[in-house]
């Protein structure tokens, strides 16, 4: 009998030591060195350089980390070069919402961006494009006046210069702190797109994780080609709001990229690694003879 307890105790010790050791090791690496990132999905440690090189996709389980707007654009344009435009558009506080500008400053510091949209001119596989991307790291990529203005300026530039347009969306929707002004950005951006479309120019909209609310219900849905990035959540209302409204659980796979494909609202689903090639191919297929 004593023997039984001894055996169990030694097994427990081994188990405990292993668990404890594991925790210690992870904490040490994460805090003191910052060389590794822990995968949010499989918990594996990933060498930071490997993650960057792999476009923020976990090499172990294929989990998609967020990609900043700047890196997103770099990942698809030729030589990673963007001629950035409309840098002078800056956010204000139209409703004098308490703490809003402080929050903006914090995000500006952490992201080194002025607001949630980066855009300009670049080429993809040798074809000139007007390109922009929302940044979900900046206040959930929400669209206030400054973001709406930059998106509109980019679309108008593309119309004027007869350029195809590529926009990557990643957004929780309109920015609440700017109230009605944010709502009106939906109308403004969609209006500009109508004139781009009437000029028979190509617009490729890429919906990435997540694209919801006022961005989904305006320019993100209006592509000649709507691409959903693999594993993206795409919808009008967020899952939490829907759950509260209908008071029941949502079906599995609801509002995924696959769901949107099945329901007919996106043209194709593309993996992050194949995005540049796919966009390049689409641009080539739409290239006008001169």
């Amino acid at each position: 009998m004593d023997n039984f307890f001894d055996v169990r105790k030694s097994k427990l010790d081994v188990f405990n030591n292993n668990i404890r050791k594991k925790v210690v090791v992870q904490t040490k690496i994460n805090i003191s060195e910052g060389l590794f990132t822990k995968c949010e999905s499989c918990n594996e440690l990933i060498f930071h350089e490997d993650l960057l090189a792999n476009l923020n996709v976990c090499p172990h389980c294929n989990y998609y980390f967020r990609l900043s707007a700047r890196r997103r654009i770099q990942s698809v344009v030729d030589k990673g070069v963007l001629t950035e435009m409309f840098l002078n558009v800056n956010t204000t506080n139209p409703l004098n919402f308490p703490g809003y500008l402080d929050k903006i400053s914090q995000y500006q510091e952490s992201s080194q961006e002025r607001d949630a949209f980066v855009c300009g001119k670049a080429s993809i596989k040798g074809i000139d494009v007007a390109i922009g991307a929302l940044d979900s790291n900046f206040m959930m990529g929400s669209m206030g006046s400054a973001v709406g203005e930059k998106v509109t300026k980019l679309i108008e530039f593309a119309t004027l210069e007869k350029l195809p347009l590529v926009i990557f969306s990643a957004s929780g929707g309109a920015r609440m702190q700017e109230g009605i002004f944010s709502l009106m950005q939906m109308a403004k951006t969609s209006a500009a797109l109508k004139y781009h479309s009437n000029a028979k120019l190509l617009y490729i909209s890429v919906l990435t994780n997540p694209t919801t609310g006022g961005v989904a219900a305006s320019f993100a849905s209006l592509g000649d080609i709507n691409i959903a990035e693999t594993k993206s959540l795409i919808g009008f209302a967020g899952p939490r709001v829907i759950k509260q409204t209908i008071n029941q659980e949502l079906p599995a796979g609801f509002q995924t990229a696959e769901f949107q494909l099945e329901k007919g609202f996106v043209d194709l689903i593309v993996e992050r690694h194949k995005m540049r090639d796919t966009i390049g191919k689409l641009l080539k297929l739409h290239k006008k003879e001169v």
Binding site: N88, S145, Y195, F236
Partner: protein, 270 residues
């Protein structure tokens, strides 16, 4: 009650007053010959939208209205004025029809928002709203939108892209309900009255912001007290404004419509 001095929250309460007239009451009063027409030709007929043709001083116009319903039974049928995608698609179908027959369009906005449900998502709520926003900007007939009571978010804006946007005096128009706003930004939906003040959702605020072009005056106790005068004023303004807008060459009308939305938003150049 002096409606010049009441708070934003008081206006929210008036806008949602159980006795406040709905679109149906307004239509019955100012368009006695209104003929309702149905369906989006794609999926079905969304009851949260009442659409049809009527005459305004002899001039045929298309009327597209969101309807919350007046009795409990009606409210359920109308889904409390929260449209599904087929509602927005019915609206844009009838706008195109109006364009073909050169009829001006009157939109009556009254919705807490587009419905956030499973079927609405399956049928493409975001896509339906986006399509309307982009299509409406180049429709070649004069269009006027009026917020009768509640203009909730993208679900309202989807019929709110027009040559002129008006509001009844105690109507509200906002990015989200005050309750939703409070729950997101204050993490407390009971702070809705506080949110209503901050949000600037009253007709007066939005007129000052140049988001809307006209306020239709209501009687002191709110529209339900005596709607006739306000309804008559609205009808008269509608007649006059359509007459003016019809004189404008189409390219000028569309340019003005574009510029109107182009200038919306507050930011700085640095």
């Amino acid at each position: 009650m002096d409606t010049n001095k009441i708070s934003a929250w008081d206006r929210v309460v008036l806008a949602r007053h159980p006795k406040r007239p709905t679109s149906k009451t307004l239509i019955d009063y100012i368009f006695p010959d209104f003929l309702e027409i149905h369906g989006d030709r794609l999926f079905g007929d969304d009851q949260a939208f009442i659409c049809g043709i009527a005459t305004l001083n002899g001039m045929p116009i298309t009327v597209i209205a969101q309807e919350k319903g007046r009795t409990t039974e009606e409210k359920i049928k109308k889904n409390f004025g929260m449209p599904h995608p087929e509602g927005y698609r019915k609206a844009i179908r009838l706008v195109k029809q109006a364009e073909k027959f050169e009829r001006p369009v009157c939109f009556i906005i009254d919705t807490p928002g587009a419905y956030p449900g499973i079927k609405a998502e399956e049928r493409g709520q975001a896509n339906a709203i986006a399509q309307n926003l982009t299509e409406l900007i180049t429709v070649e007939v004069p269009m006027i939108s009026v917020v009768l009571s509640e203009g909730g978010s993208g679900g309202a804006l989807a019929i709110g892209v027009s040559d002129q946007v008006w509001m009844f005096e105690n109507a509200i128009y906002s990015i989200l309900s005050p309750e939703g706003f409070a729950s997101i930004l204050y993490k407390d939906s009971t702070k809705a009255s506080e949110a209503a003040e901050v949000m600037k959702l009253t007709a007066k605020d939005l007129y000052e912001f140049k988001i809307i072009d006209k306020i239709i005056k209501e009687p002191n106790g709110g529209l339900h007290d005596n709607p006739q005068t306000a309804f008559n004023d609205f009808k008269k303004s509608l007649e006059e404004t359509f007459k003016e807008l019809k004189k404008m060459p189409i390219h000028e009308l569309l340019q003005k419509r574009y510029n109107k939305y182009r200038l919306m938003g507050k930011f700085e150049d640095i």
